[in-house]
Amino acid sequence: MSVQVSGKAPTFARTGVRRYLPNSRYVSVLVTLALLIVMFAAGSASYRGFFSGQVVLNLFIDNSFLIVLAVGSTFVILTGGIDLSVGSVVGLSTMIAASLLRAGWSPAPVILVVLLAGSTLGLLVGLVIHYFDIQPFIATLAAMFLARGLCYVISLKSISITDPFFTSMAQTQLPLGPDLHLTPSVIVALIIVAAAFFVLHYTRTGRTVYAIGTGDQSAMLMGLPVTRTRILVYVISGFCAALGGVLFTFYTLSGYSLTAVGMELDAIAAVVIGGTILTGGSGYVLGSVLGVLVLGIIQTIISFDGTLSSWWTKIVIGGLLLLFVILQRVFLARKR
């Protein structure tokens, strides 16, 4: 915020060194990117075999479901809301898929039912939040209990999946060069990211999402479809959670009522680390993808190290969350 003292009318052209500095809107995303690169470099320097393309690709393969969840959460958080139900919806999706497949359904209708169930739950949550004026926190908390409870109603035991389509999705490796491969789940996740990117940046709906996060009163006064969009983001989040659940079954080939406990926190942490501001209105879906990759690389480093215990993951994620939240504070304070 430099004040121009020359006699000329102030221009908005960025002069001097500032021209070479990135736009401040992108700073937190770039910090995340830099962090990712530093962590990868540190891992490569410390552990043999870490510096390989497949380690990078594995970050996507092992976290494809989390990428999809983080995309859904990004929409909700951009409007200033929060969705605590995504973890349980993932669990519920795996249960519905596994039990329907066991009952002899074919894969296509199963996936359709799962996606519909997730979206419907999201729709209900959105309606309750909007029309009854209940905080997103409480409404999604109730949805979380409901979804987890329904898991237990379906079955207490783990159900394994033997359907040929699901097993082929789990085992297929798409070759990408020598010793490099991807899985179909990653492709699905990347399509979702691309779709979310398009919706958020090139459509009216996307602009309305940002506008609601900046201030829903003013969005309403501007004549934007606030009601429809606010409900829509919860439908999107529910859909993404259900899709995440489907990808999770591709990954684990089973349905279990205790899967993905606490995964909503991972999704929220990824979104925050990716630079989206929790009060809404500012953030990027690509940042959330970077956030997921940061969480993934922490786990990779810990598994490569072998001597670090698994609980360090949680402590490091907590520390990173703190770092990024304070970073957000500093930037917000400077903006004012």
Partner: protein, 343 residues
Amino acid sequence: MSAILRGRLVWPIVTLVALLVLNVIVEPSFFSIRLQDGHLFGSIIDILRNGAPTVLVALGMTLVIATRGIDLSVGAIVAICGALACSMIAASPHPGSVSTVMLAVGASLVLAIVLGLWNGLLVSVIGIQPIIATLILMTAGRGLAMLITQGQIITVTSAPYKVIGGGYWLSLPASILIAAVMFAITAVLTRKTALGVLIESVGINPQASRLAGVRSRSIIWTVYVFSAVCAGVAGLMISSNVTAADANNAGLWIELDAILAVVIGGTSLMGGRYSLMGTLIGAFIIQTLTTTVYTVGIPPEVTLVFKAIVVIAVCLLQSPAMQARIRNMRRRRALAVKEGVAA
């Protein structure tokens, strides 16, 4: 009586009574309490005893929510305090001596205060939103608890420690007494002094209350420390009851139960007016609900669905939109009556 009916506690009380009546219908001996070996036993005593940790955590949560905050880290604090106390007792040469237990309990409570100070620092000084500030400790806290226990479930055999969560005093379970004393102290401190009003004013408008000379920063800091201490005591209670510290499962979801208890009790998440009595009733509704599921014979796995439905119902009934609709309906009916009289 009419004051109670008009008050905000109507729905919680109705819910609690309905649940209790349902229990009595299904199991006529529900209210019977018997004295065995000088200890009281019975379903009601069980509800009170199992509900004690939730009551404690919800008590701290009420004050936090009254300042327009929220404390998600209580479950992690429960785990950390249980872990520290158990590992200190297990490591000491005399696990059964009272001094060891006092030392362990003291150390855990000091740690709880430190954790509360940390939350308070993030919220009141650095100015991070409460959900996120406490989310940090919620995520990292379980890791810290596992760091203390080294990933093991630490079991302790210490008679004095067992008293906190599983012992009896004056033929009542000690945990009920501890929760009751904490509740009474809180009620007196906040309702017989100006503290309660100050907390509410901070919750209603932090800016205005600061300008009016209320030290909102220290008040916010205090409520987070209080919430952490309540969670710490609950953690001691839970780990003492099962004589083990389980870093993964101790206090799991207790933050959600506590928040639900507060919301059901009629305290708005938007801060401001709060009701300690409402929270108490809310916590017992949640505990009774769990017991009801067992007595009625609903498979226990459905508890969560049942809980979700009750929570949704209570929240919808209390929501501003629904309240306005009910008020409109009453007004219209009153008008209709008046017109009928006039005609």
